[in-house]
Subunit: 300 residues, 2 copies
């Protein structure tokens, strides 16, 4: 199970009760937090996201609407006596800011915060069931996107059929990895006879804040879910470019060219109260699009 | 008109939809913001406080629940093209933190932010109609309280009566300041004959986060409104002392000993969902007590 829950979908200035960017990627075991705008911890309380389950935090860039809520969350975790390690993947200068904020408050976190500065594109996390890669995104300052990929799951053994062929349990692990079984008499039992393919691994691409950039296509090609910002409607293409942001049509074009399965759009400018047009415009190019709405969980 | 509006009344961990400390002191002309916990700008939007009207911000200390919302507010003001100067009175280390946060975002505020570090007790602001003094408060780290005092207002002239005594308009300013008038014939017209006393100037004392400390009494003696924290109920006196906080009974005792007119209590611990007992306990010692509740304006 992989699901993405939106906690904030607004751009720089909070407006119309929309909060700045924050998302949680929920897996069975734990939670990844992606960006952490001001008020993220309040949104977590509102939408019943368990802070204690967060194992890794990913910060795309150091514009405030993507990280001003982080220090509050980190200190609250400490006040709540968190014990397990917390991993923070973020642009390098963030470490010093956090250190200063803790220092002036005479605060020492009661858990271990492991800071992993983002330095080069590539694999940044390799867990049992998922990998995370970061990639560069073209924005006004250093900015990173993240690609989350579930690992291929082992095939499921059809134990009734495996018993018919008298396959010993000691061979099950090899069956799960796709191997055929050879009986004592030399007969080959094709793997597909005794196992069932697991659900295909899912993937999620998060493009953070970005100008329209076709270099992204290769990086998030074919993902099950793509999040691409749409700060502006199509009429504001000039404004979008000037501020290194994107429009609805641009996000949808990237989704289409990258052959992703589904597109989620967000980071809406405070100039828009009603969001309907964002969806209409994006769908005109890429139909399977949804608005990123706070509190909503999107199954991947 | 002087009114205090509460934006946040909770202690360190936001809980039960209660936000961390922030208050606005509203005068006719402009607004003073006192502390600025995370989410303050969202609370301002919710309670229709106009950000553009804020001229001075006072930060009591650098525990996050009193300032983590500041950088977001400052940058939003810039994105909204604020032009007028903004004065920030705060412990010195805050300046560097803000500078770093602006720097990593490649952001230059489009208005002038004037930083006034709090260094010694005394007068820190002397405006046309109000003065602000700061005073030291006993907390775990450097912490300041603030005393806001309206200046004495000029006496109001009863123009009908002034005309009877043929007092020239050129003397009116001296009448307003309380002077008697002497006619050409040498008759003294007592000031009280032709003027009415203005409403007495009001005062507000903000004690920030503090342990029970009788040194406070002298500093906020007789104020019209006193804000004193009550992180805990009376049963948690030990916990309060250990963390340099106060209980209901302690806050009410300070209010009583300082002969203030009204007491406002807040900074409630996240351990308490229902706040009724805070009021009951405080009122048992000092009757004219109110709970500081978000969105409520208390006339001073």
């Amino acid at each position: 199970m992989l699901a993405l829950t939106i906690l904030g979908n607004n751009s720089a200035i909070p407006a119309f009760e929309r909060y700045p960017t924050a998302q949680v990627l929920q897996m069975q075991e734990d939670i990844f937090l992606i960006d952490c705008g001001e008020g993220t911890q309040m949104q977590m309380a509102k939408y019943k996201i368990r802070r204690s389950k967060i194992s890794h935090i990913f910060i795309s860039h150091l514009h405030g609407d993507h990280y001003f809520g982080l220090i509050g969350l980190l200190t609250s975790m400490s006040l709540l006596n968190r014990t397990q390690d917390l991993h923070l993947h973020a642009p390098a200068p963030l470490e010093k800011i956090l250190q200063m904020q803790l220092e002036v408050a005479s605060t020492t976190l009661c858990y271990k915060l492991l800071f992993h500065p983002l330095t080069a594109e590539g694999l940044i996390l390799n867990e049992k069931k998922i990998t995370v890669h970061c990639f560069k995104v073209l924005h006004r300052i250093e900015c990173w996107g993240f690609l989350f990929r579930q690992k291929k799951k082992p095939r499921k053994i059809d134990s009734d059929r495996a018993r018919i062929y008298e396959i010993p349990a000691s061979f099950y692990e090899r069956l799960q990895s796709g191997e055929d079984y050879v009986t004592k008499k030399g007969t080959i039992v094709p793997n597909s006879e005794v196992t069932i393919a697991a659900a295909p691994p899912k993937s999620y691409g998060y493009c953070a804040d970005t100008i329209y950039d076709e270099n992204l296509i290769e990086k998030i090609k074919g993902v099950d879910l793509l999040y691409h910002e749409t700060t502006y409607l199509k009429g504001n293409e000039d404004k979008a470019a000037a501020r290194f942001h994107s429009t609805t049509l641009q996000a949808a074009t990237i989704a289409k060219k990258a052959c992703v399965k589904k597109l989620l759009i967000g980071h809406f400018s405070a100039r828009y109260e009603i969001l309907d047009e964002f969806l209409t415009e994006a769908c005109s190019i890429f139909e399977n699009t949804d608005l990123a709405l706070a509190g909503v969980s999107y199954r991947i």
